[in-house]
């Protein structure tokens, strides 16, 4: 599954970051690594980018980049 498939408030585990060139390293440096839990906080009012929560930090990522991040085990909100 892709990170963009997450709905607002849902959490999932990161599996792998795909082919993103230098951006991959930057995502890794910001804490987006395999095994981490990531949560979608909200979409920007114009629909893009999206705000995620990872390692206790809010991070904005564009959808075109988020779709290269693979996730699994989506947990919904109750």
């Amino acid at each position: 599954m892709k990170l963009t498939e997450l709905s607002r408030g849902e959490k999932a585990t990161i599996v792998k970051i795909g082919k993103l060139g230098d951006l991959k390293k930057r995502l890794t440096d910001m804490g987006i690594t395999a095994g981490e839990i990531i949560k979608l906080e909200r979409d920007a009012p114009l629909g893009d980018p999206q705000q995620f929560l990872i390692k206790g930090t809010g991070i904005a990522i564009r959808k075109e980049d988020a779709k290269h991040i693979e996730i699994k085990d989506i947990i919904g909100i109750k």
């Binding site: 792998k16 980018p49 930090t57 904005a60 564009r62």
Partner: protein, 731 residues
């Protein structure tokens, strides 16, 4: 001298910490060759000279961003005596990743556990003793806001520097997977046995060399070339083995090892509570980033920002203008009485007016930097990028570029300085190229004069069309240049942290505004003064003050034929007005009044006042200005006034009969209004003013300033010509 470098992630309060420690000795400049801000301080502490350097906030030390390169190169090449790693104690599991990377560099280090007041409020507990042992350095609990631990931090840092005086590199071992470790050992053996590597091993820590070689770090490999090292078969072999085994690139594997090490350290030393540091931020974001409310609130905030900056500064600017040209000018006039005409004109119209031209911007700069610092330090600036990203992306920029653009409607100069909030140099350039097309406040009097003379009742519509034309041209420029290699940012992704909201300290914000304004004064003065004096000379000579026969007028007459296609080129007065307009756009009105035959008006007789009366007047005036400035800040309704064109009456006051005189430029010419419009378009798009150019030079260097100058001459020429030539088809 002891050199202390501060390194840490963005938003960890690093600058506030330095501000508190260094106090007024803090200086703001740029890192050589780039526009990344560099903060430094030098002072004496207990008989020792100490130099503090604030390295750019980074998440990593990879060679991908300018900030990271600067930080890494400084630590590796400039050999600071000790590195203070500032971390946000409320977010250790992410902050310590950089700590791991810094440790690989092998320099003496100490940690500042910052925001310790928030840490305690969250009821988090850290076993400091064991934490220090595992992380391999001393850690001091600090809070700039509560003034905690600052002296201790400085003293411990000095002790660490002293202790490591003679030691080149400290040993550091990243605990990694067994397989990875074997390969690392292999590489280490290879390096130690290779003669080529001897000088490299002397300069850099061995762990650092091994890790960077395996990661295939481009920046580091480039440096090795300088040592003549190219053959690295052994290393390539190891890389291949590792990547095969883990099915992942080496960089990522090392990154994961570092995160793993951090997790291990924190597992046994840190106890968090159920509270999160983001509780407050979440609540605020629910409103400020709300799907429906987010954008309206943002636009309202921008309107308030514009209002406070421009309306707050205007009364003080007016007062300064009056003080310099009226008060100082008057008494300087007495001093130069009896000297030759050219000398007194030089002192009054050249020198003093020049000083005035620079100083008048000081209140504006102060207000701008003050409010920009609030936006930045509070954490809202990142939200601006988040909110506006989708729109600005179409022009190859990220959302933050929106702020300079909007400021451009008030004044281009602060817009140029506001590009500093963009991280990427190329985006900054593109923004600076687009911002001058936002019609600034100083152009309004020109529009006022020409619309009053040619358009009567439809003046408002005409002015509005000019604003939109400016925006349109800016977008066109953005779309055209975003792919050019000089502007195209490699950093196409928006990947930013939305940091927790924090209430910025007034002291720090004030200091930041003061130092940045100080650097404007120091750097811009020479350029602006120089050009203003040249412009003065051009309008004064050769006939001693007879503007109509000055070099400027001659220049206008010579250039008029070239300007013919634009329509307004048939009147040399209009052409000549463009050159002094780069001193400041509003000068066009005065210039027109000087060169056009006006109806005779009685010269006002000045009242005689004494020096003491004048001083009282000036002080009173300052009082009123401060009051008006305050009122301007709190009166949100006054924002609309920024876009109000002065009416004909107000313009008449400037130079009596000037509106009629301008109307006479093309009286009876059925193309007259079109020519006037073409002139206004030219004024809209041409080089805004020399202060803007000085700002561009300061921020981007000489070459780019000349490029912008040329660009802002060609674009208006083409636009005015197109408008006139197409427009006349319909007349």
């Amino acid at each position: 001298m002891i050199k202390i470098a501060f390194a840490g992630n963005p938003n960890v309060g690093k600058s506030a910490l330095i501000n508190e420690i260094a106090g007024s000795s803090l200086k703001v400049g740029n890192w050589p060759g780039v526009t990344v801000e560099k903060k430094e301080a030098q002072f004496e502490y207990k008989g020792q000279q100490i130099k503090l350097v604030d390295l750019p906030g980074v998440y990593s030390l990879s060679p991908y961003t300018l900030e990271e390169k600067i930080t890494r190169d400084y630590i590796l090449e400039e050999n600071p005596d000790v590195v203070i790693n500032v971390v946000d104690s409320t977010n250790l599991d992410r902050n310590l990743y950089l700590t791991m990377l810094l440790k690989e560099l092998g320099k003496p280090m100490i940690m500042a556990l910052n925001f310790i007041d928030e840490f305690e409020k969250l009821n988090y507990k850290l076993d400091l003793k064991h934490f220090e042992k595992h992380i391999g350095m001393e850690a001091v609990q600090t809070s700039a806001l509560k003034n905690r631990g600052l002296v201790e931090l400085l003293e411990k840092a000095l002790l660490v520097a002293e202790k490591h005086k003679n030691q080149v590199h400290s040993k550091y071992e990243l605990r990694v997977d067994k397989f990875l470790e074997t390969e690392m050992k292999k590489v280490e053996e290879f390096i130690k046995n290779s003669e080529e590597f001897t000088p490299v091993v002397k300069k850099y820590a061995i762990d650092f060399i091994v890790i960077k070689l395996l990661e295939g770090d481009k920046h580091f490999l480039g440096k090795l070339k300088a040592y003549g090292i190219n053959n690295m078969e052994t290393i390539d072999e190891s890389i291949k083995k590792i990547e095969e085994k883990f099915d992942e690139d080496v960089e990522t594997i090392f990154a994961e090892s570092r995160y793993g090490a951090v997790k291990g350290i924190l597992l046994h030393t840190l106890k968090t509570s159920l509270k999160s540091r983001l509780d407050f931020t979440d609540k605020v974001d629910k409103i400020l980033l709300n799907r429906v409310l987010g954008l309206p609130i943002f636009l309202l905030l921008i309107a308030v920002l514009m209002g406070t900056v421009f309306n707050g500064a205007a009364p003080l600017q007016d007062w300064l203008d009056g003080f310099i040209n009226g008060f100082i000018g008057k008494y300087a006039g007495f001093l130069v009485e009896g000297t030759p005409d050219w000398l007194s004109s030089f002192v009054l119209d050249g020198l003093i007016a020049g000083v005035g031209g620079v100083l008048v911007f000081v209140p504006l700069m102060l207000f701008l930097y003050f409010f920009l610092a609030i936006l930045e330090e509070s954490g809202y600036m990142s939200r601006v990028a988040f909110l506006m990203d989708k729109i600005m992306r179409t022009m190859g920029l990220n959302g933050k570029a929106f702020v300079p653009m909007v400021l451009g409607f008030g004044c281009t100069v602060p817009a140029i300085y506001a590009t500093r909030t963009l991280e990427d140099e190329k985006s900054r350039r593109l923004t600076a190229l687009m911002a001058p097309f936002m019609s600034c406040g100083a152009r309004l009097p020109v529009y006022g004069l020409f619309t009053a003379a040619f358009f009567g009742k439809s003046a408002g519509m005409i002015v509005m069309s000019l604003y939109f034309l400016g925006i349109f041209v800016a977008m066109l420029v953005g779309l055209t240049f975003r792919k050019h290699k000089y502007f195209k940012t490699e950093d196409t992704a928006l990947l930013i942290e939305l940091p927790p909201y924090r209430i910025p300290s007034i002291k720090m914000i004030t200091r930041s505004a003061l130092t940045r304004t100080g650097s404007y004064l120091k750097k811009a003065t020479t350029v602006i003064m120089g050009i203003l004096i040249i412009l003065w000379a051009l309008t004064y000579f050769p006939n001693n003050g007879d503007t109509e026969n000055s070099y400027m007028a001659k220049f206008g007459k010579t250039l008029a034929p070239i300007m013919k296609p634009t329509g307004f080129g048939d009147r040399w007065e209009a052409v000549a007005a463009i050159v002094p307009s780069i001193a400041a756009k509003e000068v066009v009105v005065g210039f027109m009044a000087q060169v056009l035959p006006l109806k005779d008006t009685e010269k006002e007789t000045e009242e005689r006042t004494t020096l003491s009366e004048d001083i009282v007047d000036q002080v009173k005036g300052l009082g009123f200005a401060i009051k008006d400035s305050f009122m301007g800040i709190i009166n949100i309704k006054a924002i609309g006034g920024l876009f109000e064109t002065p009416d004909a009456e107000a313009i008449e006051e400037e130079g009596q009969g000037v509106v009629r005189a301008v109307a006479n430029l093309w009286a009876g010419d059925k193309e007259g209004p079109l020519k006037a419009y073409s002139f206004m378009v030219f004024i809209l798009l041409v080089v805004p003013c020399i202060v803007t150019l000085a700002a561009i030079k300061q921020e981007f260097g000489n070459k780019f300033m000349w490029f912008v100058t040329g660009f802002l001459v060609i674009v208006p020429y083409v636009a005015s010509t197109l408008i006139f030539q197409i427009g006349r088809l319909f007349i």
